[in-house]
């Protein structure tokens, strides 16, 4: 059997495309968690982003408005979370779960009018270069701007956390909000900013799903990707580069098991569908075993409310 080398390239490209929403949402959540806030509302923020992007695209016809609108929608819904957890000092876990339930519900309600409407084609970059290099051509070229941004994001995130002053402050707040506050850092402000940033990335991840990956609105179309994004953050031990690896494994197995189902491999479908979840977590646990490194990168104050008392 002769396999076209470009076909392999296409498969790899489709794996990368399916990893994009995971990378976006995970890298956003990573910043939120690094500041000590556990936002379990990723799934909810993603689906709000998905419906907002699709609805704005249909109504205004502008892709730019739709993409930024979806990010803004993520910011707005995460503002609710920030207000509750940071200003009213509610429990992070309960508030995050409520956010997800709220997001799924409200997106279904808004989405009623958009079911069955076809999406618009999203422009891709470097289309003409696709056939110039075998194998690498389809991998590197002919993708949307969001795709390229997503693959740059883990490196940007890593640089931001390690090399910039603001990144240092985010880590410091996550390590010990009490000490940070005593050093004159405005803990609440930093955490607000990190939550809203996480919201915008989840919103973008949702928009990618409904506008680029499968350009249409289907109820509940995020299908648990928000939860996987959360798991990636934890199992990558808050390391953006490992998030990239985890997202690729997850995306890869998802695509491959589709193909296996299509070829008719005699393995129960349920097992194949469950495979990516199990393998991704096992691999990330194995590559992140160093307990000293885990201790150093785990935000010590994760999920704990902080309020300054006088």
């Amino acid at each position: 059997m002769i396999i076209d080398i470009n076909f392999i390239g296409l498969i790899i490209a489709s794996i990368m495309a399916s990893a994009v929403p995971l990378i976006l949402a995970s890298c956003g959540e990573l910043i939120t968690e690094r500041s000590g806030v556990l936002n379990l509302g990723v799934e909810g923020m993603m689906i709000i982003g998905a419906i907002s992007g699709f609805a704005l695209m249909t109504v205004t016809g502008s892709l730019i408005i739709a993409v930024f609108g979806a990010m803004l929608a993520g910011v707005l819904i995460s503002t609710i979370f920030a207000f509750l957890t940071q200003t009213l000092i509610t429990n992070h876990v309960a508030t995050g779960l409520a956010l997800t339930i709220f997001g799924i519900g409200i997106s279904a309600m808004i989405g009623k009018n958009f079911v069955g409407i076809p999406g618009k084609e999203f422009p891709v970059l470097f289309e003409s270069l696709k056939d110039t290099i075998p194998l690498l051509g389809p991998i590197l070229f002919g993708h949307s701007i969001v795709f390229y941004f997503a693959f740059a994001l883990p490196f940007i995130t890593s640089y931001f956390l390690k090399k910039t002053k603001i990144g240092l402050i985010v880590r410091a707040v996550g390590d010990s909000p009490e000490s940070a506050s005593n050093q004159g850092i405005n803990v609440r402000l930093v955490r607000y900013a990190c939550i809203l940033y996480g919201g915008s990335m989840s919103g973008l991840a949702g928009a990618y799903l409904s506008m680029i990956y499968t350009p249409q609105w289907i109820e509940n179309m995020t299908g648990g990707r928000g939860w996987i994004a959360l798991a990636l953050v934890v199992f990558s031990t808050w390391n953006p580069i490992k998030i990239l690896i985890g997202a690729m494994i997850f995306g890869g197995l998802t695509i491959i098991q589709f193909h296996m189902q299509a070829i008719g491999v005699r393995i129960p479908v349920q097992f194949l569908t469950a495979l990516p979840y199990i393998v991704t977590i096992v691999v990330l646990v194995v590559i992140s075993r160093d307990s000293r490194k885990i201790r150093l990168s785990t935000p010590s104050s994760l999920g704990k409310s902080f309020h300054k008392d006088n």
């Binding site: 240092l168 410091a172 390590d175 010990s176 009490e178 005593n182 050093q183 201790r295 150093l296 006088n310």
Partner: protein, 496 residues
């Protein structure tokens, strides 16, 4: 240049407690000032006001005649007041350098040079690129001090700095502080340790219950006079009446061995001793020589051979702590907040945890809250615990009050034997005195004590018989009046 810091009529009131009551003080550079007081005397509140962490209800702070508005720690920093807190304000997972650069506006390279020159000048050696969690307590404190020195402070406040340091680190710290003082930094040193005040400071201000009680020069004071000022009454020097104790044996330990799987624990080998009724057996030793394991074996946290412990003519070596309590043993572990009490639970709930048989705290699986509360109030009043709120979480009690509560909880069941491990560790003079009096009283009621302690003075004061534990082995048991602290010191070091 001279620095003059003035605190004028500062008052801070918390619900149910006046932390600072109209306090006025004046400090001048060139001297080291001690701010002395028992736990809860208000000295920490006062320095937190100086460092902007707490905003006072009334009063003003002047630095060189300028009225300071200290609304946040940032304001204190901007006004050249540096503070090293008792609990370090460091970010454990960040590197030393990251900890230092985070609140500095300087460039990386120039800051590094500055830190290097500070470390050179004061003989500090710390690797700037390792995470803070890998440092010892003494090194962490140096990082905090460097953090203050980077800003060329006029005032440096140290809040109970030696509570986590070894003796070696303490004397290094004192040398540095004297050097800072010579260079014109005004030093305010907060402590409840009298010896340190005498050794380090030039002037001392004593606080008690939120009020300033005296300001004087060290050369006019001695340890006794300061202790009396701090506690507010003339401390009786307690000395136990050494009477002949009975020969009625209460507990007998026979060939007790313990071999641990944990390489950081000490094995116990061939422990043999007995304690008579009305007697106090002291067990001395340098910490880490098996005291903790011995306590756990005696209390039943570690279960041993049934026949190795004979208590009141019963063999109880294989019983757990709860079952041993029913035979009228009681325990006061070393770590008050981790082992003896649950910090997040209220006082009365902690009392209920010692659910002895006759208590009736629980009826058919339901909590009898009234009964427990009544019982808790009795403990609080009988044992002088300084609060009247039994719903208070136990983590908010000071060390002394918590220890009184724990001892009270154990004693109110009138046990035959109390086993305690470092009962006065980290407490102030007043609380230590109270605990000592209580322990003496137990002996007078013909009840027995096993006192495991690293404080030799305490052992000599309270024990009838003393033994020394070294590398998991007990020395022969000696009569306390034949022992001197020198002799104990030799045995503790493994000599003969």
């Amino acid at each position: 240049m001279n620095t003059n810091l003035k605190i004028s009529n500062v008052t801070k009131i918390y619900p149910g407690c006046v932390a600072n009551d109209n306090v006025s003080l004046e400090f001048n550079s060139g001297k080291i000032y001690a701010l002395l007081g028992e736990n809860g005397a208000g000295k920490s509140t006062l320095v937190k006001i100086l460092s902007g962490v707490i905003i006072p209800d009334e009063g003003k702070i002047y630095l060189n005649e300028n009225n300071l508005k200290l609304n946040s720690p940032l304001d204190a920093k901007k006004n050249d007041i540096g503070m090293v807190f008792q609990h370090f304000n460091l970010f454990e997972t960040l590197s030393v350098f990251e900890n230092l650069i985070i609140d500095s506006d300087e460039e990386r390279e120039s800051l590094r040079e500055k830190i290097d020159s500070i470390m050179k000048k004061y003989n500090f050696s710390i690797d700037l690129d390792i995470p803070v969690l890998n440092l010892s307590a003494g090194q962490k404190q140096k990082v905090e001090i460097i953090r203050c020195l980077i800003r060329n402070p006029k005032v440096l406040i140290m809040d109970e700095p030696t509570s986590v340091l070894t003796e070696q680190e303490t004397s290094e710290l004192f040398l540095s502080l004297k050097k800072f003082s010579e260079e014109g930094i005004l030093i305010i040193y907060i402590t409840h340790k009298l010896k340190e005040v005498m050794e380090l400071c030039d002037e001392v201000a004593v606080m008690r219950r939120g009020k300033l009680v005296s300001v004087s020069e060290i050369k006019n004071e001695n340890i006794e006079s300061l202790a009396n000022k701090m506690v507010g009454q003339n401390l009786k020097t307690i000395r136990k009446k050494k009477e002949k104790t009975s020969s009625d044996q209460l507990i007998n330990i026979i060939n007790l061995n313990f071999i641990s799987e944990d390489p950081f624990e000490t094995n116990l080998s061939d422990i043999n001793f007995s304690v008579n009724r009305g007697e106090c057996l002291g067990i001395a030793g340098i910490s880490g020589n098996g005291q903790s394991e011995l306590f756990q074996v005696l209390s039943g946290e570690i279960i041993s051979d049934k026949n190795s412990i004979e208590f009141n003519k019963n063999y109880i070596g294989d019983l757990n702590p709860q079952e041993r309590r029913e035979y009228l043993m009681a325990f006061s572990p070393e770590d008050r907040l981790e082992q003896a009490a649950i910090p997040q639970m209220a006082i009365f709930e902690n009392v209920a945890l010692n659910n002895f048989k006759s208590s009736n705290f629980f009826n058919n699986g339901l909590i009898n809250e009234n009964k427990i509360k009544e019982h808790s109030k009795k403990i609080i009043s009988d044992f002088n615990v300084n609060t009247d709120n039994i719903e208070l979480k136990s983590q908010f009690l000071s060390g002394g009050n918590l220890q009184k509560l724990i001892i009270g909880r154990e004693l109110i069941t009138s046990p035959d034997l109390l086993i305690c491990f470092n009962p006065t560790w980290g407490l102030d003079v007043g609380a230590i005195n109270y605990i000592h009096e209580t322990l003496i009283k137990i002996n007078e009621q013909n009840k027995s004590i096993i006192l495991i302690s690293t404080d030799t003075d305490e052992l000599l004061k309270l024990s009838d018989k003393i033994s020394v534990i070294h590398k998991g082995k007990l020395s022969k048991i000696m009569n306390a009046d034949e022992v001197t602290s020198e002799k104990l010191g030799i045995l503790m070091g493994g000599g003969n």
